[in-house]
Assembly symmetry: C2
Homo-oligomer: 315 residues x 2
């Protein structure tokens, strides 16, 4: 198993493209398989190394993710690239384990209401399944990483407030059970920088020498402010999507993920290395426009362009 700190190096911010999964959950039309491959290849060329490729669901009922195995194989063939896929249940995890994917991503909600709405079972059951998966993969020759996203970590649009202590307790249980990376998710964009700062600081302590992830939505305009707060507390793995695609079918008023392009610019202004070429990244929006002409693409820097560099003597 590749060490988690090789997948997410400590000397940079790893930005995970979740548009191919989270971003396609609510779109009217989705890209062709070739379109997805172009998206991956062009983003890889721009420097992206982490791709969430879809959800392990029955292919006949969820056509949008039916080509996940093709994408896994494509990403596996790219040097230094890592694919992850969401597993919503036991069958999904079985399929994931035999897919050759680098990371299996499980989701659990902090709120019982959203866990029931999203996964159709209790948090207790979900947690047990995650623990079972951790136990199962230790028996494998080439086991994948296991990641857990804690949805609604900052409040739930179905049931209200969330206790940060409960989030940290669950995160600790996951790490103790062998989970490699736990992410705190502001699924519905409730958080402000202060909440993110506090929870990220707690996660930093719990995670120890392992990374933790931060998954933010820009629902109430504070997505990038929250990303800055998380980075300030040592977060080095952040999810985002090209053009801010995204949303959650089981969360009222959930809108897009934070915009990858603007997040890269945020990192650049802060002096944080991402390995990503921003101009090349912005150009990948053409693939999304071609494949999903009806979807709105968000983001400031793609519209405004990069700042001009210093021109001596003209100031």
């Amino acid at each position: 198993m590749t060490d988690i700190n090789i997948i997410y190096p400590a000397d940079r911010i790893s930005l995970r493209e979740v548009g191919l999964r989270d971003g396609l959950q609510m779109v009217k039309t989705f890209p062709t398989t070739q379109g997805k491959i172009d998206w991956i290849h062009q983003e890889y060329d721009a420097g992206i190394r982490h791709f969430e490729l879809g959800t392990f669901l029955p292919k006949d009922r969820y056509r949008v993710f039916a080509d996940i195995q093709v994408l896994i194989d494509k990403v596996t063939a790219l040097p230094g690239a890592y694919g992850s896929g969401l597993s919503p249940n036991k069958i999904g995890s079985q399929n994931a384990l035999s897919s050759g994917i680098s990371e299996i991503h499980c989701v659990m909600s902090i709120s019982e209401a959203h866990n029931l709405a999203n996964l159709k079972r209790t948090r207790e059951t979900t947690l047990r399944e995650i623990f079972d998966l951790c136990a199962l993969r230790t028996k494998m020759d080439s086991p994948p990483q296991i990641g857990v996203g804690l949805a609604m970590s900052f409040g739930c649009s179905l049931s209200g407030s969330v206790d940060p202590a409960e989030v940290l307790e669950l995160a600790e249980q996951c790490y103790d059970a062998g989970v490699d990376i736990v992410s705190i998710a502001d699924t519905v964009g409730y958080a402000g920088p202060k909440q993110v700062e506090n929870l990220a600081a707690g996660m930093y302590k719990i995670a120890g020498n392992r990374p933790f992830g931060v998954h933010l939505h820009d629902t109430r305009g504070l997505g990038l402010a929250n990303a800055a707060a998380a980075i300030g507390q040592g977060a080095r793995v952040l999810d985002a999507s090209l053009g801010g695609l995204g949303g959650c079918p089981a969360a009222p008023n959930a809108t897009g993920n934070i915009v990858m392009e603007d997040l890269v610019y945020l990192c650049q202004t802060g002096g944080f290395e991402t390995g990503i070429n921003l101009e090349k990244l912005i150009a990948v929006r053409d693939v999304l426009r071609r494949e999903m002409p009806d979807e709105t693409l968000y983001g400031g820097i793609a519209m405004a362009g990069l700042p001009i560099v210093e021109m001596a003597g003209q100031k």
Copy 2:
């Protein structure tokens, strides 16, 4: 003269509505005078106390600001409300001094190129005019406050990089000359939180017991992240506009101000008092829609709605 610390109390964040000036510089159609009055009255009812009302320009050539005196009188009649107006030149300042306005706002660019493009004269001339204005108003019985906005404080879309030391030096010269509040302005949205943090920390030192202002544009998606950074360094006066209206005719690719509604939410999540009722504020967007149906209104919280509050036992 009302003390500057009464106008901008130290125990809260004062959010200045600049949509009536900065926000109307580039719109296709502008509100009727009654529309502007409705905008002011409804925002006042929501808790806004600071309004930038227009620019002192020749009425026959700049119809959009021809009614500035009407608006000054309306704001003056509202208990605890303060109006400011932009003076672009000597004649503007003369008119401003006799208008009864609470604050005269002068602009100077950190970059010579933008100062020339925007004000048609050098920075040296502009600075001398500001100093002259400071001297002039000391002779008045009821002098207005004088504010200076330092445009392009974080870089210029005409001439490139800007030296933060130069911004601070100019700010200090302004305070020394008697300016009551100096604002750092990211006119074209170049800054990231790190740059804002550093410059705001410097301003906090220079300003001493006076406030300093922060004027941000959301051009590259980092406006709210930058606002959070400024507040973290003690900024307590921030400009914003309802729906993110705004732009600068003399700055290529300048887009809207930061969105007032989202900024209020940012303050709320951080526990900072603004005195503003967010639901009432969001409702004022109806005035803008009615008066300027072709303008795009931005902002997350107005679309998504306020987070739901805790509902016991349902988590």
